[in-house]
């Protein structure tokens, strides 16, 4: 017999995320996994991105307690959305995919996923906002995905602050 709570617990167990101040969940579904996540990490903020507004409406009507705990958006990846979410990424966050939801609208979730993982040129561009020299420097990353080694090898002339550059250098030492 289908047990959505146990399924949600298995989902979280398989993801095994470390403690983060923000979780971004791709897919709301019936919201059981979101509730489980919120219970396991009561001090973390949760943002859920859901492709279908009808699903959000259903959850709002039938399981309103889920939405009380999280911020939900059904906006596809757009300039406005990027502006909304980029400041929120200035903390330790983890992206968690709800696979059943992904299957219903792969392009919606893939776009968000790539952007949130900062693994492509566009995402880096948004992270760097309007910093001088960013556009020229981003030409180094036309071939996605962006890896830490790739990024470290182009730190010279990068539009990062001194502190940011040093933080990246620290991380670069960990993959040598």
């Amino acid at each position: 017999m289908h047990n959505p709570i146990r399924e949600a617990e298995t989902w979280l167990k398989n993801k095994n995320p470390p403690d983060c101040s923000l979780f971004i969940v791709l897919g709301l579904g019936a919201g059981y996994h979101v509730t489980t996540l919120a219970q396991s990490f009561p001090n973390s903020a949760i943002i859920v991105l859901e492709a279908h507004t009808e699903i959000i409406s259903w959850v709002k009507a039938n399981r309103p307690q889920v939405l009380a705990q999280v911020a939900v958006s059904s906006e596809p990846l757009s300039h406005l959305c990027k502006l909304w979410i980029t400041p929120k990424l200035n903390q330790v966050y983890r992206v968690l995919v709800h696979e059943p939801s992904w299957a219903t609208s792969p392009q919606f979730y893939f776009d968000w996923y790539q952007f949130l993982l900062l693994r492509n040129q566009e995402a880096l561009g948004y992270y760097l906002e309007n910093r001088p020299q960013a556009i020229k420097w981003l030409e180094n990353f036309t071939d996605s995905p962006v890896t830490i080694k790739h990024l470290i090898s182009h730190l010279e002339g990068a539009p990062f602050s001194k502190t940011e550059t040093t933080l990246w250098r620290c991380l670069g030492e960990l993959v040598k």
């Binding site: 966050y93 983890r94 992206v95 890896t147 933080l167 030492e173 960990l174 993959v175």
Partner: protein, 566 residues
């Protein structure tokens, strides 16, 4: 006062930091000592004294996230940034970097504090702040080269702590005691053996046979084979093989936590170990340690910091080898040089409480046995002396060089005046060529102006030893010639100062016996330490002011006329 100590190395290195942690707590009475360590070694925390708060660098998690193409690049970035921000919000007065790698250098430039010591990498520029010992740690402490000084001593001096006796300090925990109590199977005296290290090339294939030989003759002992939970299968397999032989010692697997291992070792008759963190753990006790230093194990840097250890080290050109590279030979040659029967005999001698100084193997053996010595008096340092000593004069010379070198580094730490630093540095150098250059002359004059007595004594002692070192054999006559040479060069005030000591030297009519040579060596070592101590006391009195010369300047004429090509 809040102090943050950074040590992002492994378990053994953390344990070797304990003399420094305790020293900091003693020097700055009301200070808070915080320690930043790798999260994966947080199991050491219950054992560490003198730490008020631990901070964790989660290296494994960061590496995992960086390598995972499914994880955000920003996650490790933000995680690290959060750690830096939290540390900076604590407002440390002093941050000390005891890690000699780039990662820690970059972190240091991100941390803010009133004062920072150690390696800092700021915009790709390498800076060493604080004591010159940090320079030694970062510039002269490579993985394969022999080091003049032990890692624990360098850390201690780098923090400019009161020069006193020191040793590894760990505290037993109730959990560890309970674990050890539950593990002990009988009331027999027991030996603890750590058979496996984290690298294959540091393991010794002959250990099983050595334990079998010992066990056959000593059924009155139990032998506990120590291992971490991930080594369970290997430990169980080894104990099963060893227990196949009846009427011998009993071999028990001992899969315990670090806390349990410490409590188990506390009551043991002996610890036999490869180069592992367990040898450092045991250094807090007086339990004898037999350390088998193979592969990349560099005993000169990180040998057992124990008053009661013997180290077995094969004499091979390639030993110690680099940490990260596999052994290029078809088999581990260094381990093959060690004879299991000889090791079984040493184990027997150690459990029978024989005088450690008399335990040796044949001088023809390709393996060296070294006895460890802890600093027992101010100015002292850890060293490992070969047994039997094939060349007492060379050993003595090495010790005097060490004394001179530690003297010069500590002098630099106290004075921070570049000219004096340079002058003192040269006298501590092992490099013969330095003594023949015009720079040496210039520097020796500077030294004599500043510290006439100490500079003169050290220089004459070193030169006399250098001259004698080339002669063979190193008989009692050679040693007496050394003394005569020294006495003839010293003026009356120096002679008066050391009259009592010199009298004992001169009265010491040497015979070629081992005992007399040992006695003379001990006297000379003591003498060299006294010189260092005096020098340091003099410097404290002098402060930064100029000293007035009370002795004739020393000119190394013979060295200049007949340069030593060495």
């Amino acid at each position: 006062m809040k102090i943050l100590v950074i040590n992002l190395l492994r378990l053994g290195d953390l344990i070797m930091t304990t003399p420094t942690l305790v020293g900091l707590k003693q020097k700055y009475h009301s200070c808070e000592v915080h320690l930043l360590l790798n999260q994966s070694f947080s199991n050491i925390e219950p054992l560490l004294p003198a730490v008020d708060q631990f901070w964790h660098f989660d290296r494994e998690l960061l590496q995992q996230q960086l390598a995972d193409p499914e994880a955000s690049l920003m996650e490790p970035f933000q995680r690290l940034k959060t750690l830096v921000n939290e540390i900076n919000a604590t407002n440390f007065d002093l941050i000390i970097n005891l890690t000699h790698n780039r990662l820690s250098g970059y972190l240091m430039s991100l941390f803010s504090a009133k004062e920072k010591w150690g390696l800092i990498i700021d915009s790709s520029e390498f800076l060493i702040q604080g004591s010159p010992w940090f320079g030694y740690l970062n510039n002269e402490f490579s993985s394969t080269a022999p080091s003049l000084f032990h890692y624990a001593d360098i850390l201690y001096w780098a923090c400019q702590l009161p020069d006193s006796t020191r040793r590894v300090t760990l505290r037993e925990t109730p959990r560890g005691k309970r674990e050890a109590f539950e593990l002990l199977q009988d009331s027999k005296p027991y030996i603890v053996v750590q058979p496996f290290s984290n690298e294959d090339k540091k393991n010794w294939q002959g250990l099983k046979l050595a334990l079998q030989i010992f066990g056959q003759n000593h059924s009155e002992y139990s032998i506990y084979l120590l291992g971490a939970p991930q080594e369970r299968q290997k430990i169980l397999g080894l104990s099963e093989i060893l227990n196949q032989n009846r009427n011998c010692a009993t071999y028990y697997p001992a899969i315990v936590s670090l806390e349990g291992a410490l409590s188990l070792i506390h009551k043991a008759q002996l610890l036999v170990t490869m180069d592992t963190s367990i040898k450092h753990l045991a250094s807090t006790t007086d339990v004898p340690i037999l350390e088998i230093a193979l592969g990349s194990s560099n005993y000169t840097q990180t040998g057992s910091y124990s008053p009661n250890a013997l180290i077995l080290h094969p004499l091979l050109d390639c030993a110690p080898c680099p940490h990260s590279k596999p052994c290029p030979l078809p088999s581990f040659r260094c381990g093959e040089l060690i004879d299991p029967a000889e090791v079984a005999k040493i184990i027997e001698q150690l459990v029978q409480k024989q005088d450690r100084r008399k335990i040796a193997i044949s001088p023809q053996s390709p393996v060296r046995v070294l006895a460890t010595h802890l600093p027992l008096q101010p100015g002292g340092f850890w060293y490992a002396s070969p047994q039997p000593d094939p060349n007492p004069v060379t050993t003595l010379m090495e010790l005097i060089h060490k004394t001179a070198r530690s003297f010069s580094f500590n002098a630099k730490a106290s004075l921070r005046e570049s000219q004096k630093q340079l002058a003192l540095w040269q006298f501590g150098s092992l490099n013969h060529a330095l003594a023949t250059t015009p720079k040496f002359l210039e520097n020796s004059k500077k030294l004599n102006l500043t510290f006439p007595a100490q500079g003169f004594l050290l220089a004459t002692l070193i030169q006399a030893l250098k001259k004698l070192d080339g002669r063979r054999p190193h008989s009692s006559g050679t040693l007496r010639a050394l003394i005569d040479s020294l006495v003839s060069q010293w003026d009356s005030s120096t002679l008066a100062r050391y009259q009592q000591r010199l009298k004992s030297w001169i009265d010491f009519r040497l015979d070629p016996s081992e005992a007399s040579t040992q006695k003379l060596r001990d006297l000379l070592v003591q003498m060299s330490r006294e010189i260092e101590l005096e020098a340091r006391l003099s410097m404290e009195l002098l402060g930064a002011s100029e000293a007035k010369s009370s002795m004739r300047p020393f000119e190394p004429q013979s060295e200049i006329k007949n340069p030593d090509p060495g």
